[in-house]
């Protein structure tokens, strides 16, 4: 069996250089024009940023719509967009703009945020490195996950879904590559049963470890 090499990553956030958005129309214009990295940051990397909040939604656009535009309808529609289910960032961008356009068509006034509550467009550099830790058997996965940093959880379980094969986390890809007569299937099913959209990274680590260790205990 090929060992699984545990990687880690750290995020360095910076201003994108785009002007902030003060209202929904400006948000729409900036999203339509921003770089892929900006879109990726606010949909995916945001979970790695230091925060005191565990917001209802996992992307920054939905959170801002709810908290600062006060538009709960828009927040719900944006909040359900799962960036890992779109084949490309271009398609994610198109879907986001479509949701906002739809909402703008329904409203008689453009929602706006007060000064200080504007949406700031950011991007980040993700620095990835090998930890030197290797997992040689699926039975070791639960314990290894328990010891992983938030960066490792993000890289292997979330960010991996944007890499080929699109939509698959690294653990699942490894288990599939080393499939042996269906023995890895329970692990693959356990990983697939986790709805990553509703967890912070520390919660996700606990959830992964719990599901995987449950398989070991059931043996």
């Amino acid at each position: 069996m090929t060992p699984f090499e545990v990687k880690d990553c750290a995020l360095l956030t910076r201003m994108s250089g785009l002007p902030p958005a003060f209202n929904l129309r400006e948000l729409r214009e900036r999203i339509a024009a921003c770089g892929d990295n900006v879109l990726f940051h606010h949909y995916c990397e945001t979970t790695l940023r230091a925060t005191f909040d565990n917001p209802d939604y996992r992307n920054d656009f939905a959170v801002w719509s709810k908290l600062y535009l006060g538009d709960r309808v828009l927040a719900e529609r944006l909040g359900i967009l799962d960036p890992y289910l779109f084949p490309s960032l271009g398609e994610l961008r198109a879907a986001t703009v479509e949701v906002i356009d739809e909402r703008l068509g329904e409203l008689t006034m453009i929602p706006w945020a007060r000064a200080g509550d504007e949406f700031f467009f950011m991007e980040a550099t993700t620095v990835m490195f090998s930890t030197g830790v290797r997992i040689s058997h699926p039975s070791e996965l639960a314990d290894a996950v328990r010891k992983m940093t938030n960066g490792s959880i993000y890289f292997h379980f979330l960010e991996a879904r944007r890499r080929p094969t699109i939509g698959k986390d690294d653990f699942t890809s490894w288990l599939l590559e080393n499939e042996d007569g269906g023995r890895n299937l329970p692990y693959i099913e356990a990983l697939a049963s986790i709805d990553y959209q509703f967890h912070t990274l520390p919660d996700l680590r606990v959830e992964l470890a719990t599901r995987l260790s449950g398989l070991e205990e059931a043996k």
Binding site: D8, A10, L11, L12, T13, R14, M15, G17, N37, F40, A50, T51, F52, D53, N54, G116, F120, M122, E123, A124, T125, T126, V127, M128, F129, T131, G132, K147, M148, T149, N150, G151, P202
Partner: protein, 412 residues
């Protein structure tokens, strides 16, 4: 004294420390200099105390230098500081000359450190002019703004902007604090040291000794605001809120803070606070020496509710410290407090003394909320706002800057 890195394992876990050591290996031997203008007093000095030591332990050749000034210089830099935070202040061309002269007077002493360094971190505006004086510098220079300059008083920003534009990059604590500049603007929130004298666990006996020393009644709720005596911290507004609560609940208030060598305005503010407190025996105004860290620690642990009713704030590390002690915070709806205090989650944001009084009264009748929000707040601090996360981001920034990485994803 900063604890060795290994001492943090029990708080953040071995994996987090391993991650830092792996980063450190990639930066081994790099020469880094931090410069600010005070060795004690205020959050910046506290951060630099541990940051320089831990970087050394991780293999980075780090040092911490001080820009020395006289009272006149600090009067001017305090005005610059206030102006950058939006206060209307007058800074004459003669004042700007004094600012430049003091930077220049420090140059001979600092030049060998600054010109040989691979990376120089200049903290806040006081030493920022050094960049223009070090014409033989060979490393990258980064300006670290610890304050909220989102809405500066324009004449002051016009004086500082040409200076900081020359840097290779800048760092702000939050996106909301940044100003457009012609170089990368990184975002790194600050953090606290959980093993420092101000944050480490204290024995019940030591906490009780502080209660006795200041005559605090154990049978009545205690409101605590810890901060420099600074108008932006609104200590008089806190007294107003206390008086509103006092009409219906028998609470006590502690306003405690130290002075900093670069803050000459504190004395005048303290006099205003004393006058507002009057002869009320339940208002305890404590001017503490700069090394009273354990006393502050104990006062935060004695608090029923922690207040930070600022009208302007940088990040507000004192909020983080309060949360680390498992306390909810009622904070001003400004600056970094907004990042930390989430309504009904880790405390409440308020805009007026009336708002503060309202939330204090809510907490006094909901002990379960105090316990729940306090516990939530402590876990958020553990996960995101301890020095281990902070130093990781600095190490990442150093790697990205030194290797001139432009890509958004890089394998090192």
């Amino acid at each position: 004294m900063t604890a060795p890195l290994a001492a943090y394992e029990g708080i953040v876990g071995a994996t987090v420390l391993r991650q830092l050591r792996q980063f450190g290996e990639k930066l081994s031997g790099i020469r880094v200099v931090h410069v600010n203008s005070t060795r004690e007093g205020g959050g910046v000095a506290e951060i630099l105390e541990w940051m320089a030591r831990l970087m050394l332990e991780l293999g980075v050749t780090a040092s911490w230098e001080i820009l020395h000034g006289n009272p006149g210089f600090f009067e001017i830099t305090k005005a610059i500081h206030n102006g950058l935070q939006g206060h209307h202040v007058e800074i004459s061309s003669k004042d700007w000359k004094v600012y430049e002269d003091v930077n220049e007077a420090n140059l001979d002493r600092l030049r060998p450190h600054l010109e040989e360094a691979d990376l120089v971190f200049i903290h806040d505006p006081q030493p920022a002019h050094l960049l223009r004086l070090c014409d033989r510098r060979k490393g990258k220079w980064i300006w670290r703004a610890h304050i909220d300059i989102s809405r500066p008083y324009r004449p002051v920003w016009k004086g500082i902007r040409p200076i900081v534009e020359g840097y290779d990059a800048s760092i702000f604590s939050m996106a909301e604090f940044a100003q457009p500049l012609p170089h990368p603007q990184f975002l790194v929130p600050p953090s606290i040291d959980p093993l420092s004298e101000k944050n480490r666990d204290l024995s019940p006996a030591e906490i009780e000794a502080v209660r006795s020393e200041y005559g605090l009644d154990p049978s009545r709720p205690l409101l605590v605001q810890i901060s420099r005596f600074d108008r932006f911290k609104d200590p008089v507004g806190v007294i107003e809120a206390y008086r509103m609560v006092r009409k219906v609940s028998p609470v006590q208030l502690v306003l405690a803070g130290g002075g900093a060598t670069d803050d000459p305005e504190g004395k005048a503010v303290l006099e205003d606070v004393m006058e507002a407190a009057g002869n009320d025996p339940d208002i305890h105004v404590l001017l503490l020496p700069p090394d009273a860290h354990r006393t502050i620690n104990a006062l935060q642990r004695l608090a029923t509710i922690i207040l930070q009713k600022s009208t302007r704030e940088g990040f507000g590390l004192v909020v983080t410290e309060g949360m680390w002690k498992g306390k909810p915070v009622i904070g001003g709806d400004v600056g970094g407090i907004r990042l930390q205090v989430v309504n009904h989650h880790t405390g409440f944001l308020v805009n007026t003394p009336e708002g503060a009084a309202h939330r204090i009264r809510y907490f006094l009748h909901h002990q379960d909320s105090i316990d729940r929000m306090g516990a939530t707040a402590r876990e958020f601090v553990r996960e995101n706002f301890l020095l281990t996360r902070h130093i990781r981001e600095y190490l990442t920034l150093m790697l990205v800057t030194l290797r001139d990485i432009k890509a958004n994803f890089v394998n090192v």
